[in-house]
């Protein structure tokens, strides 16, 4: 890694939330229901990292700060890391491998179904995140596959919204951010199509 690389500071920033959570666990600051707290924290950080990943491309375009692009994969992998923590919390701490109950949940509760889809969509992306896999797939197919991140983020948004009991403000803010990030892409696509049509 060359001097002045963004990778180290961003890496440190990405592990801070989990270190903070562990610290709170050690000092007994997770409250009366630690499993619920861990579930909520790992979940919200997964969504934040997904938003962060999706923000990098438009930010590079808008600010011409292209060095940001060098950390996009890492931030995306951290989204997957937090999703894994979130899913393992559900699997181990919440249900302790009670697969009967888990399957019932995944099939019958739409917010769990959405969360499960969102998590599952991230797995192929993490597996094909290496340069070697990019070469093997070819850049076009790789890019097509990695559009799954949009499906995952939308499923994550539904998961977030549908688990809420009464107050939609908090998921609303996050989903607004996601809508903005997806909207920028739709707008850019529409604009570039229009330009090619005009020039062609």
């Amino acid at each position: 890694m060359r001097r002045g690389s963004l990778k180290w500071p961003v890496f440190v920033g990405c592990v801070l939330p989990v270190l903070w959570l562990i610290g709170r666990g050690i000092t007994g600051d997770l409250g009366a229901n630690p499993i619920e707290e861990i579930t909520h924290e790992t979940g919200i950080w997964t969504f934040r990292f997904l938003l962060g990943t999706l923000a990098i491309t438009p930010l590079c375009a808008l600010t011409a700060w292209s060095r940001l692009m060098s950390v996009r994969r890492m931030v995306g992998l951290f989204a997957f890391f937090y999703a894994c923590l979130h899913f393992s919390t559900y699997l181990v701490l919440d249900w302790f491998f009670d697969f009967e109950a888990i399957i019932d949940d995944v099939v019958n509760r739409r917010y769990i179904t959405a969360g499960f889809i969102g998590f599952a969509m991230l797995i192929p992306l993490a597996l094909t995140s290496t340069h070697a896999m990019l070469r093997r797939l070819g850049s076009r197919r790789w890019q097509q596959l990695h559009r799954l991140v949009y499906v995952s983020a939308i499923a994550g948004a539904a998961h977030f919204l549908w688990q809420e009991k009464a107050d939609l403000q908090r998921p609303g803010i996050y989903i607004g951010c996601l809508a903005l990030l997806l909207g920028i892409r739709v707008w850019q696509r529409a604009r570039s199509r229009w330009r090619t049509r005009v020039s062609g």
């Binding site: 409250g31 009366a32 229901n33 109950a101 949940d105 509760r109 739409r110 688990q163 009991k165 009464a166």
Partner: protein
């Protein structure tokens, strides 16, 4: 006579009572107000100052019936993990924010189909009341549970004093609404004030109590000070906190959560492992402080006492 002891007062209660007495002695020692407590204890039903975060020791509390011998949740857990949306949506918000609520003076408006409607001062209502410790399971609709040693008395004691008339089929309870002291009501998360209700036979049931304390002391605001309902066979949201009004009605009250999401929260809200919440299973629950989930019991384990109230009712329809 001895043979007629109900099964609720099991042999296990004897040890419980010892632990209970020891704990009270311990609390007295720690608070260092033993003399004051003993002096005040000579007057039945009075409340002596313990000088501990505004809480007061409640005197002459007798062990009540229906007590569970399951391990009780800690005072810390019971007072820091609360749903009281008027003080914020996070479980810890009420313990941080509820101290702003003024609970004295406190009056309860009693109206509707009742012989003695009036605005009652809480001191007058509690005069001559025999306080009992009721150790109850509390099952939240969110699939967690606790065991709480409430101090209170049967709601029926008060209702009989008010003299409900034949038109009284339900009781509607209202929580205090004071925007200047309740940061959570600035946004319309629920249709404030918080309203709950019971059918008359549910309200008169010996399990149904009004609680004024827990662990031998007056309630902290986050637990619904100065007086709250406790209906242990129903999901926790039925047990309305900080009551300022009791209205005796002929029609089923329109309750807060039912108005907000009618397909998720019914009027009855009896704990029932066979009727799932639309978004999660009610078959099991996490007892706060334990790792493994445990099976949820029908009527939260009080089916012997209350199942007969719902004979012939389709509990899937009347959830």
């Amino acid at each position: 006579m001895l043979i007629q002891n109900p099964p609720d007062i099991a042999s296990s209660e004897i040890t419980d009572e010892h632990a209970y007495l020891n704990r009270r002695q311990f609390v007295r020692g720690v608070t260092g107000t033993a003399l004051g407590v003993v002096a005040a204890g000579l007057v039945p039903g009075t409340v002596a100052e313990a000088g501990d975060v505004g809480q007061q020791e409640i005197q002459n509390v007798k062990p009540g019936p229906f007590r569970t011998d399951e391990p009780q949740n800690s005072f810390e857990d019971i007072t820091s993990y609360n749903n009281y949306y008027e003080f914020g949506l996070d479980k810890r918000d009420p313990s941080r924010n509820a101290h702003t609520l003024t609970t004295s003076p406190w009056t309860i408006q009693v109206d509707g189909h009742v012989a003695k409607p009036a605005d009652y001062h809480i001191e007058d209502l509690l005069k001559g009341i025999a306080f009992e410790e009721r150790v109850y399971r509390l099952r939240c609709v969110e699939a967690w549970s606790m065991v709480v040693p409430w101090v209170g008395f049967p709601l029926s004691t008060l209702i009989k004093r008010f003299g409900p008339t034949s038109g009284a089929k339900y009781v509607e309870f209202t929580t205090v609404l004071r925007p200047s002291e309740m940061p959570g009501v600035r946004r319309p998360v629920l249709d404030w004030p918080y309203v709950e209700g019971l059918r008359m036979d549910e309200a008169m049931h010996p399990l149904t109590i009004l609680a004024v304390g827990l662990y031998g002391k007056t309630l902290l605001n986050q637990n619904g000070a100065p007086v709250r309902l406790v209906v242990p066979w129903k999901y926790g949201f039925k047990s309305v906190k900080s009551i300022v009004r009791m209205r005796f009605t002929s029609e089923q009250p329109r309750t807060a959560w039912n108005k907000a999401t009618p397909n998720e929260y019914g009027f009855y809200a009896n704990v029932n492992p066979t009727v799932d919440h639309p978004r999660w299973s009610q078959r099991s629950e996490r007892r706060i402080g334990r790792f493994f989930r445990q099976a949820t019991l029908m009527f939260n384990g009080y089916d012997d006492q209350v199942a007969s109230l719902y004979n012939g009712m389709d509990l899937r329809r009347f959830y």
